[in-house]
Amino acid sequence: MARWMKLLVGVWIAAVVTLGVTIPIGYIPGLGDRARILFFHVPMSWVAVLAFLMSMWYGIAYLRKRDIMNDIKSASAAELGFVFCILATITGSIWARFNWGSFWNWDPRETSIFVLLLIYGAYFSLRSALEIEERRASLSAVYSIVAFVTVPFFIFIMPRITFSLHPGGAGSVAPILNTSGKMYMGTNMKYVFFASLIGFTGLYLWLFQLRTRIATVTYHKHAESA
């Protein structure tokens, strides 16, 4: 990534954070200023899902081409996705404390992100239990594909049919995650939200590049010493 792009990501994120905290967002029934979490929590979850998708994508690429670089990228994406998933869980949990009254109460959305964390955890433990490189690459790719097909049951189906307090569940107002496919946000909110989405995606891509480079160097170092 070019130097100016890195600088841009830094300035962009700083601007998004400042605007996200200060910009007037109007009155939102039931949420008020607590709706500002949308600017940070939703992009984090989006990046986590994007990372998981990329991890699976590179997994499939490995299975097709048997190029170890694809496996390194797949694992790097999964690691970053795990970090963003933890961040989304923590921010969501703090928000839940002030909006719903408790840090954790097994709302369907909380269950789904918990499952996502479990899947990542299982993915990493599978990787550490496989010693042969090619086998580790192909089996973890297969596992991430299987996990990715069962995840939609949680993220898209269950929160819709069971009652949920999370914005977007059955019986609550939904700014983004709703069945009609429209966004219910004020203009200010919409701009900051999309800016944040772009900023976080850029940050993720930068981190992804760094992580991949580190992993590649480590891989070649091990290959030389072995």
Binding site: L118, I119, A129, F154
Partner: protein, 232 residues
Amino acid sequence: MKLRLVWAIFCPVKGASAVFSKDLNSELRTRYALNSLLMFVVVTLSIILFSTAGESVSPTLSAGILWIIIFFAAMSGLSRSFVAEEERGTSMTLQLWVKPSSVLLGKLAFNSLLIYVLNVLIVFAYILTVPSFIVQSPLIFFFTMLLGSFGLASASTFIAAIISKANSKGTLYPVLSFPILLPLLVSVIDATRLSVDGAAIGEALADFKILISYCVVVTTVSIVLFDFVWRD
């Protein structure tokens, strides 16, 4: 041309039935899986009975406990199908003789049979020993067990194929299976609770839809991906 097409369809089935009968024969000869699983169920059930001694378990809770027993019984028994092949060193022979899809289908058939037999016994023992567990809508309960057991067998057979290549197989198996099985477990527990509460069959329809789509999705994905797990 036509003959070849027929052959292409029936060849995996023929191979699968051979793998199935091989597993069934070796199981009938030793009764290893069934015996140890039965003891596992007895032990688990008695722990639950000891810990709830004198207390009346609510119907909702009893539906959950039933599936805890089934889940862990499956986790201790179903990995054997593939792990045993690796331990005996017979997986190479299987790779030479039959197509990968036949191996998966044969093992899946055997594991399904195993879990159906086991679940009949578990449910029977559970109804006898837990007085608050009374199935009021047998139809819901029947379909839940039918679909749930198959989904359980399907996902855990495939995960068993993955972990049979890894170190520390025993601990890895439930760790890998749980997140994959969770959509199934959530809807199966919900449907069992409905059957205990005496709900109409229409109320459990949403759960059945999830169960059916889960079974289809997991079985399809495992057939597609099995080549990569089996031949490496």
